[in-house]
């Protein structure tokens, strides 16, 4: 309590922020005065002074003069000015408001300083050079994008064709002021807010209808976060991952987020279709959006709106977080693999293909053990990892001759017996 009071008392308001990179650019650019933009978060007395309009909104916008001429900066007729002075090790800023010098000037670090706090844990040069595609920017994808930006990943490809809607807000990173924006736009801004130097490409498209685009995106990425809400897209992404030998991290929640699972694909290992054919994998998953669930068939076309509403069951954001968190860690381990970073030891821990998590002992997890005294029994709030056998005849990741995939296919012999031989003399008649 003491500390907080001390900090509050010592602070001189308002606080000004000047972008160090922009300052360097202005200082080296050799131009004269420059009409910049000031952004003030209303009522918060926090002012950002920029040489150019920011790509994402701050609040109230005003003008600020950047100059090297002290007389100009100190002129009482200039409402807000930044006096730029050159030193041996770069440039510094002095802020004047109507000619009066302001005390509390801070610097937004330039690019090489921005993520220096992560140094020693993450290998920044490596992450900065990596490209991550995030397919699906809902409650999973939005959080993961921002976490990866915080970690210093340098290149993003964002795929989602939805807009931010009211029902998203409880679990989404977007705020109410962003209602109606394309999720690709909103999350691109969120990523750039954490890492202004990230390269972000936006693809507001339905990948199931744009498979060649999906293929190109996967080919140009080092890793794909699969955060969509339907299996068709997962199978389509799986095909592209196998084709181009890219890493994929899949995650989803089970009904009402009572639990969930995470799957990691690495080239040469079991693929998502191997997992789905594995028998232990449940097709049941959380349905959070009626329109989307109708589109992908999770809610059958014949189901009434009233019945559909009982199927749509949204879990808590707090129950989604652990799943996103593991997906982020798996992604960082895969992106840093072999780089001898501070998370190298995790390569020995996160060796599993498939991970399960339970938030509550309900339904699917009803017979799990209560946390107190569970001993070796499965409990909530713990990760359980499993190795999945790669199916050598898998229809999706086959490396063998084409006909060998027959062994993996659902041949329906039980139906053949039911149908019997009823083909004698039957001929195909085809219309044109």
């Amino acid at each position: 309590m003491e500390n907080i009071n001390m900090i509050l008392e010592q602070e001189t308001l308002p606080l000004y922020f000047v972008d160090k990179q922009e300052l360097d650019d202005y200082g080296r650019g050799g131009v004269g005065s420059l009409a910049g933009v000031s952004y003030e978060w209303e009522g918060e007395q926090v002012v950002h002074l920029r040489t150019r309009p920011a790509r994402h909104a701050y609040g109230q916008v005003g003008q600020v003069l950047f100059t090297r001429d002290p007389a100009q900066a100190m002129s009482a007729s200039v409402p807000l000015a930044v006096l730029v002075t050159e030193h041996d090790n770069g440039f510094s800023a002095t802020v004047y408001r109507h000619g009066e010098r302001q005390d509390n000037v801070n610097y937004i670090p330039a690019r090489d300083e921005l993520y220096s706090r992560n140094k020693g844990i993450l290998e920044l040069n490596i992450l900065e050079s990596k490209t991550v595609a995030i397919v699906g920017l809902g409650s999973f994808g939005s959080q993961i994008a921002i976490e990866l930006a915080k970690a210093g990943v340098g290149h993003f490809k964002l795929l989602d064709f939805d807009r931010v809607e009211l029902h998203n807000l409880a679990r989404h990173t977007c705020t109410a002021s962003e209602l109606g924006r394309l999720k690709t736009d909103a999350i691109a801004d969120a990523v750039l807010g954490k890492n202004p130097y990230a390269q972000v490409e936006k693809f507001p498209v339905d990948i199931n209808k744009n498979l060649s685009l999906l293929d190109a995106v996967v080919r140009e990425s080092d890793l794909v976060i699969v955060a969509t809400d339907n299996n068709t897209s997962r199978f389509n992404i799986n095909d592209a991952l196998v084709r181009h030998g890219r890493v994929g991290i899949y995650g989803r929640a089970i009904t009402r987020a009572e639990g969930g699972d995470v799957f990691r694909y690495r080239p040469g290992g079991p693929c998502y279709t191997c997992l789905v054919g594995n028998g232990t994998f449940s097709g049941e998953e959380e349905i959070t959006n009626e329109a989307s669930a109708r589109r992908n068939g999770q809610i059958p076309a014949y189901m009434s709106a009233a019945d559909a509403q009982t199927v749509v069951q949204v879990g808590l954001s707090a129950d989604i977080q652990p799943l996103c968190n593991l997906m982020v860690k798996l992604a960082l381990v895969e992106l840093s693999r072999g780089a001898h970073s501070g998370i190298t030891s995790l390569e020995q821990e996160l060796v599993y293909d498939y991970y399960m998590w339970a938030n509550r002992r309900e339904r699917k997890y009803a017979n799990w053990h209560a946390l107190p005294g569970a001993g070796p029994m499965p409990t909530i709030l713990r990760w359980y990892g499993a190795r999945i056998e790669r199916n050598t005849h898998c229809v999706a990741c086959r490396s063998t001759q084409s006909t060998e995939i027959v062994a993996d296919m659902d041949q329906g012999e039980e139906y053949a017996r039911q149908l019997g031989d009823n083909y004698d003399g039957l001929e195909l008649e085809v219309e044109d």
Partner: protein
């Protein structure tokens, strides 16, 4: 979209289940709208042709149509979405069969299995024509 490897594997599964090759044909392969035409005969001896659209197969449940508009016992066209009749919205004047649900679908499901489920649908359809009962009476909901 279905590729040649997969098509050959589907033929192998048809052979394995003793479906003669003269009752089906892969149509418009190499275009953006490939489909399978396959004949079916019910136990009482009526014949039908099924159209299985393969442009998104096997990653997505394929659309299956009877190549004409079927009618109910009371003569109404079976063109709409119906839970009890196991139909989806018709296209181009063809009744569309609801044969698989999304939770049960995966790319390992074969065209033979879809064909077999549609054969059973046709048996149920004829049951409906004979008795007036909805197809639901014979078909449990396609998972």
């Amino acid at each position: 979209m279905i590729d040649n490897d997969r098509m050959n594997a589907e033929v192998a599964v048809f052979n394995f289940n003793r479906v003669p090759q003269n009752i089906y044909r892969f149509m418009d392969m190499g275009t953006s709208k490939p489909w399978l035409a396959i004949a079916a005969r019910t136990n009482v001896g009526n014949t039908y042709t099924l159209r299985i659209e393969l442009d998104k197969f096997p990653n997505e449940i394929p659309k299956v149509f009877v190549t004409r508009m079927l009618t109910t016992r009371s003569g109404a066209p079976m063109s709409g979405v119906s839970a009890s009749m196991h139909t989806l919205s018709s296209e181009n004047g063809r009744t569309r069969i609801c044969h698989y649900g999304s939770q049960a679908w995966n790319p390992r499901v074969t065209l033979f299995k879809i064909y077999a489920k549609c054969r059973l649908w046709l048996e149920a359809y004829e049951g409906h024509r004979a008795t007036g009962r909805d197809l639901d009476y014979w078909l449990k909901h396609q998972a």
